[in-house]
């Protein structure tokens, strides 16, 4: 049984989305989410930050947790309340080993060109940009809970409930 986040006091901007754990689908969803967040009144910098964090998380889900399961699914449950964007990512993939999230340390920059890192930036970026990140293995599901600080865009109405209809 999929465990959804508990109801909080403020769920007026809530979006739930299910997508295949597939890079092309993730890409498409991220483009739509960017538009949704802007239309829902989030400022550009917060939207770009959230888009980067969520893209890094979903890339990991596709490339690691779900890489051997073409039928794997990812559920997103996103809500915004009082300056906090709350994102729960649930997937049916393999658990994170020892339930320990990867390190927050950004790869070092060596002097030698041939030793420059080509990867290892994803999790440090997530840690750097999110206010909190927690992971749980719930039944057979991975559940990652992210909180990001976000700000309203200039000139947007505080209540844009209903924009979720674009999905």
């Amino acid at each position: 049984m999929l465990s959804l986040p508990q109801e909080g006091p403020c769920r007026d901007q809530r979006l739930r989305l299910t997508l295949p754990a597939d890079m092309a689908q993730v890409r498409h969803a991220m483009v739509l989410l960017h538009r949704f967040w802007i239309r829902a009144g989030m400022d550009v910098a917060s939207t770009e930050k959230a888009g980067l964090v969520l893209a890094e998380v979903l890339n990991n889900v596709v490339e690691h947790a779900c890489s051997d399961d073409p039928a794997a699914l990812v559920w997103l449950d996103i809500s915004r309340c009082a300056g906090v964007l709350d994102i729960v990512v649930t997937d049916s993939g393999r658990p994170i080993p020892d339930a320990r999230l990867p390190d927050a340390t950004m790869p070092g920059i060596p002097r030698e060109i041939e030793n420059l890192p080509e990867g290892g930036f994803g999790w440090p970026l997530i840690w750097r940009l999110a206010r909190s990140v927690t992971y749980q293995r719930v039944g057979g599901w991975n559940r990652l809970h992210l909180e990001l600080q976000c700000f309203p865009g200039a000139g947007t109405k505080p209540d844009v409930q209903g924009n979720a209809a674009i999905f």
């Binding site: 890409r27 910098a45 770009e48 888009g51 980067l52 002097r111 420059l116 970026l125």
Partner: protein, 120 residues
């Protein structure tokens, strides 16, 4: 991910066409870039002015093509949009490359010095 290449003398100006250089495009970007560099150039300027989204995989692809260049080839980057500039800064990759405000400025400058020292 389409790349345009303009050869000006011995300088190749490569422009990313498309708003996202992300995990879904990283492999394609590397392949296309290598095809273009096969034409030969002393200096490569990567113009990212159309790119509005760069993730860690896209950044890794840029680092990978840089590392794959011949030792004599200089590599510079131009046209970082704010979200792309943020990724370079957070990962400290802005200290690795010479970064120009736009392609015209890069073309009008021989590249200056990079934090990594001369590629040649």
């Amino acid at each position: 991910m389409e790349l345009d290449c303009e050869l000006v003398g011995r300088t190749a100006l490569i422009r990313c066409r498309g708003a996202r250089l992300d995990a879904g495009m990283a492999v394609q970007f590397k392949e296309r870039f290598r095809e273009m560099i096969g034409r030969g150039a002393d200096r490569i300027i990567l113009d990212l002015c159309e790119v509005q989204f760069l993730d860690s995989s896209g950044l890794g692809a840029i680092v990978a093509v840089y590392k794959a260049l011949d030792p004599g080839q200089k590599f510079d980057i131009a046209g970082l949009t704010p979200p792309v500039e943020r990724v370079f800064r957070l990962t400290r990759m802005d200290s690795v490359f010479s970064i120009f405000e736009n392609a015209a400025q890069a073309m009008g400058n021989d590249g200056g010095s990079t934090a990594m020292g001369s590629a040649g």
